[in-house]
């Protein structure tokens, strides 16, 4: 280890890129193609293996109930991808899951277990619906109103979750528990307004805000029944992948995630990085809330609390917190949800079957975390380039 040999730690290393290399040691780890490939193969093989094991356990579960696993997985495929209708249904359901997966993945890369996406989604959706009221009654043009609503949702969601990152840095408050508490507070805030000041008198049975109206709703991607939230999710996933792997910001964040103390010693602005990552996460979840309101429900009400935030955690773990990998994983979970109705009708099984499958996948997947580094084939040859 060289101490002091590194260039004098600048106050804001983010402004220049070169200092970042100082994090490595005297004999830098050269990531050769072979090493990269092995790490990549491990990150694909273990989650895929976990999926296979989950499918096997679920099949045994089905056999015990006297149902055919073959039928189940065939129907899952058919209901998820079999027809153009089912593909569209799957992709439609994947949109909020992508955004909520990103909301877990970005803080995870900086080492934070932030589980409050549900709250940011609810608050983001609610604030989009709330700001729509003056916009719609004031007759603001649609082209202007829609981005205002989306930005408002992202800003509110981002600010909400940024509090979590700030509390973690400034006061050492555990981010998992604080984000969980703030989810409940967020739902209470929405309920307070939706059942009080902002309640639409017309919504008798299910208190809701004023409907934003058909003109202000987000449309569908031409030629499909899929709303634009899917495109937003894909674009954000790619953008965040670039941000986390190709920029100094992303590098600094991942260094902090690897070892926060080392990052501090290098003079990285750990606090600001944490706040930025949690703000990005909250903005993703808030945007998911915007699309839930502006593309699906047309108003904010209790339907926003649908558990997307919690499924997003599972998706992010399966994708190893990699923004691009979240896309296929979210589509897979969209298919599990989309095929639920078909399986329910054809196999006479309750809709909770999908929940059981998800639960098994989640448990097996997290158990498989213990396997990383255990298989010789994924490691470098002993002593080759390790420091």
């Amino acid at each position: 280890m060289r101490s002091g040999a590194a260039p004098a730690a600048p106050p804001y290393p983010l402004s220049g890129g070169r200092q970042m290399t100082a994090v490595t040691t005297d004999t830098p780890v050269r990531l050769t193609d072979s090493t990269k490939f092995r790490a990549w193969a491990e990150a694909v093989a273990i989650p895929v293996g976990a999926l296979v094991v989950s499918a096997l356990i679920f099949s045994i579960f089905l056999i015990f109930l006297g149902k055919s696993p073959v039928d189940y997985f065939q129907l899952l495929w058919k209901g998820g991808f079999g027809t153009s209708f089912s593909i569209q249904n799957t992709l439609q359901r994947a949109a909020p899951l992508i955004l909520c997966g990103l909301a877990f993945a970005i803080p995870a890369q900086i080492g934070l277990t932030m589980i409050g996406a549900e709250g940011a989604l609810v608050l983001g959706g609610f604030s989009a619906a709330a700001i729509a009221i003056p916009l719609v009654t004031g007759g603001v043009p649609v082209v202007l109103a829609m981005p205002i609503m989306a930005l408002c949702a992202m800003a509110v969601g981002g600010a909400w979750i940024a509090i979590v990152g700030w509390l973690r840095h400034a006061r050492g408050v555990n981010e998992t528990i604080s984000s969980l508490l703030m989810t409940y507070i967020a739902i209470a805030i929405m309920n307070f307004f939706v059942e009080g000041a902002l309640r639409d008198p017309g919504s008798a049975n299910k208190p809701s805000t004023m409907p934003i109206g058909k003109d202000y709703m987000v449309g569908y991607i031409p030629g499909t029944d899929i709303h634009w939230g899917l495109v937003a999710g894909i674009v954000l996933a790619i953008a965040l992948q670039i941000l986390m792997t190709r920029t100094t910001f992303g590098f600094a964040a991942r260094v902090t995630g690897g070892n926060a103390r080392a990052a501090l010693a290098q003079g990285l602005p750990v606090g600001r990085l944490m706040v930025a990552c949690t703000a990005i996460a909250g903005a993703c979840a808030g945007l998911a809330g915007y699309y839930e309101v502006a593309a699906i429900h047309g108003q904010a009400n209790a339907s926003l609390v649908a558990g997307y935030g919690f499924t997003g955690i599972l998706i992010s773990f399966l994708a190893r917190h990699n923004p691009i990998m979240i896309l296929p994983v979210a589509v897979m979970f969209g298919a599990i949800e989309a095929s639920g109705g078909l399986i329910q009708r054809r196999m006479d099984m309750p809709d909770a079957t999908a929940l059981v499958l998800q639960g098994i996948i989640f448990v097996v997947l997290l158990t498989s975390e213990t396997l990383y580094g255990r298989f010789a084939i994924f490691q470098q040859k002993a002593g080759a380039e390790r420091t």
Partner: protein
């Protein structure tokens, strides 16, 4: 006149607090035991929901609700020991596994619980302790379920045992310092698996209260996140079983403010009271995160306080 309204609100809040607090108390006690051993189980929501379903189903089939309560406890042991064993593997994140156990537990509860939504099962009879009173609202408030008293007894026993018994010492030592426990010849993982399983039992019993007493039937919207809040309750109670009773009553009372205000005709603006315990817990965390007294109270091996 104002005194009458205030009394009505207070009595119905007291009744509501006692009614609602029992599941809070059981999950808080279960979580306290688990966290005292140095591990955090975020999945007690799964234990609670599965416990509620199993208790209702067993009570329906056997006709005896108390057998249902015991069965719910063992459903909780099943999930708790699963959590304990998985978390004993190296490099497995106990918080994430807790979330996984929550979705697994609720999943199997909803799956196997479908046939029990319709039928009506025998419920736990409550003890009419308010018969001496003239006031019907007071009588209603003092109509207390025996599980409430079971919870208080468990809290007192746990408080005494943690402080005075050999088992309590082993649990606390494992929670405070793993090296110390190893030096004493204690296997930390075994202690933690046992503590998580026992904590799971208590959370399962808390679930039995939901389906067999109040609200008193099985359906999928039964739990309103009481299990998830166990972690907050334990922080609120500073890892002390006796304070868990107070924390549970307080969380229960905060939830009962809405209906209490409704009974006197105020039907708006009480949602912030529902969120009050969460806000309060958050402030306690902010205030105590770096204080030395909280470092004494919180188990040293706990991942959330490290």
């Amino acid at each position: 006149m104002n005194d009458g309204i205030l009394a009505t609100i207070l009595i119905s809040m007291l009744g509501g607090a006692i009614r609602v607090s029992t599941p809070f108390m059981f999950v808080a006690l279960g979580e306290t035991l688990t966290e005292k051993s140095g591990r955090i189980n975020l999945g007690l929501e799964g234990n609670l929901v599965l416990g509620a379903m199993v208790a209702y189903a067993v009570s329906y089939h056997t006709g005896n609700p108390w057998i249902g309560v015991i069965a719910a406890g063992f459903a909780g042991v099943f999930l708790g020991s699963m959590h304990g064993i998985i978390c004993s593997l190296p490099r497995v994140n106990d918080i994430a596994v807790g979330i996984a156990m929550m979705s697994f537990g609720t999943g199997i509860a909803f799956f196997f619980g479908k046939p029990y939504i319709q039928p009506s099962a025998p419920r736990l009879e409550s003890l009419p302790l308010g018969n001496w009173s003239e006031s019907s609202s007071l009588r209603q408030a003092l109509d207390i379920n025996p599980l409430f008293f079971v919870g208080i007894v468990v809290a007192i026993v746990m408080w005494w045992a943690l402080a005075n018994s050999r088992w309590g010492l082993i649990v606390r030592m494992t929670g405070d310092s793993e090296p110390a426990a190893r030096a004493m010849g204690v296997q930390p993982y075994q202690v933690r698996i046992a503590a998580t399983a026992a904590g799971g039992f208590l959370a399962g019993v808390g679930g039995a209260f939901l389906s067999l007493s109040y609200p008193g039937s099985w359906n999928e919207g039964l739990s309103s996140g009481q299990g998830l809040m166990a972690v907050a309750l334990v922080i609120f109670a500073r890892w002390n079983p006796l304070r868990c009773i107070i924390a549970a009553l307080l969380f229960g009372a905060a939830g009962a403010i809405g209906p209490a205000l409704q009974s006197v005709g105020i039907s708006q603006g009480y949602y912030f009271f529902n969120a009050a315990p969460y806000i309060l817990t958050l402030f306690i965390m902010i205030a105590s995160a770096r204080s030395s007294s909280s470092a004494r109270e919180a188990p040293g091996e706990l991942s959330i306080t490290k």
